[in-house]
Amino acid sequence: MENFYKPQKVKITKIEELSPTVKLFRLAPGFSFIPGQFFLLGKIGYGEAPFGALSSPYEKDYIEFAIRAAGTVTTFLHMRKSGDEIELRGPLGNGFPLDFIKGKDMVLVTGGSGIPPIAALVEYVMKNREKFGNVYLLYGAKTPEEMLLKDRMARWEKSEIKIITVVGLVTDLIKDIKINEQDACAVMCGPGPMTDAVEKIIRPLGISDRRIFVSLERKMQCGVGKCQHCATGDKYVCLDGPVFYYDQIDKNYD
């Protein structure tokens, strides 16, 4: 019988400071995953926490995560050095529906440290650029320092990914977006207030709820829909998500 709670060892090959509170961790070996899927990172004795992968899903040699120091596991990770060994489980969850979004215009909306899964998706789009229409990335951060991955965004911009950034709320970003609303979809990942973005950006653009994909944040622990910590309504974020159609979860009481 397979023990799916058993983590596997990975090595930190690079740590880079992205902001005063966020570090990028490059881990080896690489893993194949779908953008939007998450991994549980940590070490026995220190705990585990869920993170969305941010590197290109085509990258065979390593996988990257951007981690904000917020709790015990993330503080532990921030204290590691390059060369240290940590543990990981995954990939878990469903990821973004790549077949569905192919060929469409896309509006990606995120804020603060919600960028990782979106970054992995953009890397996927970069590799298959001709299969997508206009792609917009709207990214908001509280302060200029907290805007992550600026160097990568510069690279994405060269491949006609239109990037609109703002310090403050992404909801201020609507002008200048040109999409065919009949054949466009939206992807969101970010802190709770981001759902305002639906009201203020995505619906006004004419994208229907069924074509809005949201990546949710919860306290995933077991990763297989048993422990109940990540339940929302009748869904489990670790198993049925973390990516949902907006109309699957917008009426949930929690």
């Binding site: 023990n3 709670y5 004795g45 596991v73 802190p191 297989v224 422990c227 009748d234 009481y253």
Partner: protein
């Protein structure tokens, strides 16, 4: 079928004890789940596999709960720690009350003494309610916002005992430890969704900050989420939560109130 007379049960158990470790659970306060999903168990380093053992004395209702728990722990993947214990176990059911069995199977019986009948009636009518788990799911989902949840939030102490004594509550937390010898371990222990911080994430946001939301979620899981996931309510009417609740909350009364009002709602003409 093997029928053992009551006075011969001990001899039967003695015989079993010669070959296996036998746990007589007839006097347990906690449900049988503690033997397959212990209140606190070490996951890593992986402990030695458990020995073969016999669990004696599950009631008919508990056997039903065990079948449900087996299903829960098999999907989408078999839970390693549950099944390594479960597969080493022989479970023997015991129904002491032949009257109850007979009544359950529809035979006519004289009423017993009053207290006995009262207990029995509670279970009987609870199990009647549980027959229509689709209706329960609809009603409990509809009841969000019903005033009963405000009333229950006043009553409920949020102690989590209902989840601990429920044979079908299986939520848990993973907890890591470091010993004085620097050896690290990962354990899993029972949790309860009515306890604070159950759905709090790093950064401090709590998705169910009040007892009202958490208590509703307990019901929602048992009767709505469980129904959508497995096609039946995760309640067998064992009565443990009602008996152990320090605030004397009766799950059946709650359901009946909701069902009554849901019935009225359905009959009200919508303009």
């Amino acid at each position: 079928m093997l029928v053992i007379k009551e006075e011969k049960i001990n001899d039967f158990l003695e015989k079993l004890r010669e070959k296996f470790e036998v746990l007589d659970i007839t006097k347990d306060e906690l449900p049988f789940k503690q033997y397959f999903l212990p209140a606190n168990e070490q996951m890593f380093p992986v402990p030695k596999p458990p020995k073969k053992f016999v669990i004696f004395g599950l009631s008919e209702i508990d056997l039903e709960a065990l079948i449900q728990l087996d299903e829960i722990m098999s999907k989408p993947k078999e839970d390693f720690y549950y099944w390594r214990r479960r597969k080493q176990t022989l479970v023997i059911g015991l129904e002491k009350d032949m009257k109850k069995l007979a009544k359950e199977y529809g035979e006519f019986l004289e009423e017993g003494n009053d207290t006995e009948t009262k207990i029995f009636n509670w279970q009987q009518s609870m199990r009647q309610l549980l027959l229509d788990s689709e209706l329960l799911a609809d009603a409990v989902e509809w009841s969000h916002g019903h005033k009963i949840w405000d009333e229950l939030a006043e009553k409920c102490l949020g102690c989590g005992i209902c989840a601990y004594v429920c044979p079908l509550c299986y939520c848990f937390s993973l907890e890591d430890k470091v010993g004085l010898d620097d050896k690290c371990s990962r354990c899993r222990k029972w949790d309860a969704c009515t306890l604070p911080n159950f759905s709090k994430i790093a950064g401090g946001h709590d998705f169910r900050p009040t007892i009202k939301e958490r208590y509703y979620n307990w019901f929602y899981h048992k009767f709505v989420r469980a129904y959508r996931e497995y096609g039946k309510s995760q309640c067998v009417g064992c009565e443990r939560c009602k008996n152990q609740c320090p605030a004397k909350i009766d799950i059946q009364e709650v359901l009946k109130t909701i069902l009554d009002d849901y019935g009225k709602f359905l009959q009200t003409p919508k303009s």
